[in-house]
């Protein structure tokens, strides 16, 4: 049994909140730069150039890439041989509180979806726990902006809708979102499970680096097909036309019920942020 103090979790979450918001991951940067090279439509090329300039400025000046510094989604993989000293949820929220204050990040959380009073410190975080073998804790902070979150959709398809139904739903979601989620986007897809599990998988899919393919060959192919089909829509960066509508499609899947085919599509913008640390 390894003991880990709550303080270390707070410090790690705080650091990851700031880093994720100011420094875009190398996988996304590389992908944007590849699309920039391949993009021929002038308007699209210009937008991608500005996007590249923007994350360079954010890197240099240590300032948020985007003003929507998101809701803090925090994923903890806790080794089953770990004993945490302190209240784990409170310690994560304290990390978010400190990170958003000290990092000059925007506080974008309201305490009640209907009375809409800002909590003033960006808490509570959306916290997800997973118990895994071992004596370590892996913490991922993924600040999620809502321009793209609002364009996300879920469908409870019929088994007879099959693969075509899934593809059509992903394409329809991307098409209807159009310019709203700040394309080029990253598309997280969850297929199977239950209503809630599909949505959770779609969000988890956004944590996978965009240059890492699905481990299952069939789904790796499907990711590539969907990426090509979304980019054939012609929406382009910011919706001004072009081939760069999506940077990646990441799918997570799991078994489901004989009567169901849940599909969730979680859209993220070109500022797809997540940072991970193991303690």
């Amino acid at each position: 049994m390894r003991e880990i103090s709550a303080l270390i979790i707070t410090q790690t979450v705080k650091k990851l909140c700031i880093e994720a918001n100011c420094h875009l991951g190398n996988d996304i940067k590389k992908r944007i730069e590849q699309f920039y090279e391949n993009e021929k439509w002038p308007q699209a090329k210009e937008v991608l150039e500005r996007i590249i300039q923007n994350y360079k400025i954010a890197d240099e000046s240590n300032q948020p890439i985007c003003q929507d510094t998101g809701m803090a989604c925090v994923f903890l993989k806790i080794g089953q041989d770990v004993h945490i000293i302190g209240d784990v949820k409170e310690t994560v929220n304290e990390g978010v509180r400190q990170g958003y204050e000290e990092g000059y990040l925007r506080k974008s959380v309201v305490r009640d979806p209907l009375d809409r009073v800002n909590t003033g410190d960006n808490t509570p975080a959306m916290i997800y726990f997973d118990i895994v073998p071992g004596d370590k804790i892996e913490i991922t902070v993924a600040p999620k902006g809502f321009g793209s979150e609002n364009m996300s959709r879920i469908a409870m398809l019929r088994p007879s809708d099959g693969l075509k139904g899934v593809k059509d739903f992903v394409l329809k979601t991307a098409e209807e979102a159009g310019p709203n989620p700040c394309p080029p986007i990253v598309i997280g897809v969850g297929i199977g499970g239950t209503f809630d599990k599909a949505a959770y998988m779609a969000k988890k899919a956004l944590l996978r680096p965009v240059d890492k393919k699905n481990e299952t060959a069939f789904y790796a192919d499907l990711e590539q097909q969907l990426l090509e089909e979304v980019n054939a829509l012609g929406i382009g960066p910011q919706g001004f036309g072009g081939k760069t509508t999506a940077l990646a499609v990441n799918i997570e899947w799991c078994p489901t019920h004989i009567a169901g085919l849940p599909v969730a599509v979680n859209i993220n913008c070109h500022v797809t942020r997540h940072k991970t640390e193991v303690i």
Partner: protein, 185 residues
């Protein structure tokens, strides 16, 4: 070549702007997003005076991050505009001529834009660090309690935007995509 726009943005100036035009805005613009729009429209409903003069004004849909010491403003890119669709027609009727945001607008907004001559500009979403460099002064002029959602008076210099919907209702989101698909066929 980008068109230089000096505020105030008059209705006459609006008439010359066409969807797809790149523009650089200099002068004064105001920030407002969901909560501030709601408050402004409540005042209109109650026939009370507004904290800003809407005549020939441009409203930028943005909630910036806090400024670090020595900074004018934090990152300040556009937010998605359709959430302001219920409010924009009311403000346009009262004299607002420009909006800066990103994403689609509803027909009620486009109808008001055509009727009263207003324009909808897009700034590049997700480029808040870059856009903040064009903001030279920032001052909260109303609703300080709203934090990031307060109304700010910004002085901008060569703030880059593109006309998405012009005062005749032409829409770059439609024509840009069509033109690209024709070119790519």
């Amino acid at each position: 070549m980008a068109i230089s726009i000096k505020t105030p943005l008059t209705r006459e100036m609006v008439k010359d702007l066409k969807a797809g035009d790149s523009c650089l805005i200099s002068g004064v613009i105001y920030t407002a997003r969901d909560a501030a729009h709601q408050r402004l429209c409540q005042l209109v409903e109650q026939s009370k005076p507004l904290p800003i003069d809407l005549k020939d004004s441009i409203i930028y849909f943005v909630g910036p991050t806090p400024a670090k010491p020595g900074q004018v403003i934090g990152s300040a890119g556009p937010t998605t505009s359709y959430r302001m669709d219920a409010y924009s027609p009311i403000l346009i009727e009262l004299g607002q001529t420009g909006m800066i945001g990103k994403g689609k607008r509803g027909t009620e907004v486009v109808d008001a834009m055509k009727k009263h001559k207003a324009v909808y500009f897009g700034a590049i979403g997700g480029c808040g660090a870059l856009l903040s460099k064009c903001i030279k002064k920032s001052e909260v002029v109303a609703y300080d309690d709203l934090g990031a959602e307060a109304i700010r008076r910004l002085e901008v210099e060569d703030f880059p935007v593109i006309v998405i919907i012009d005062s005749s209702g032409n829409n770059l989101y439609e024509t840009g995509r069509e033109d690209y698909l024709k070119y790519n066929r």
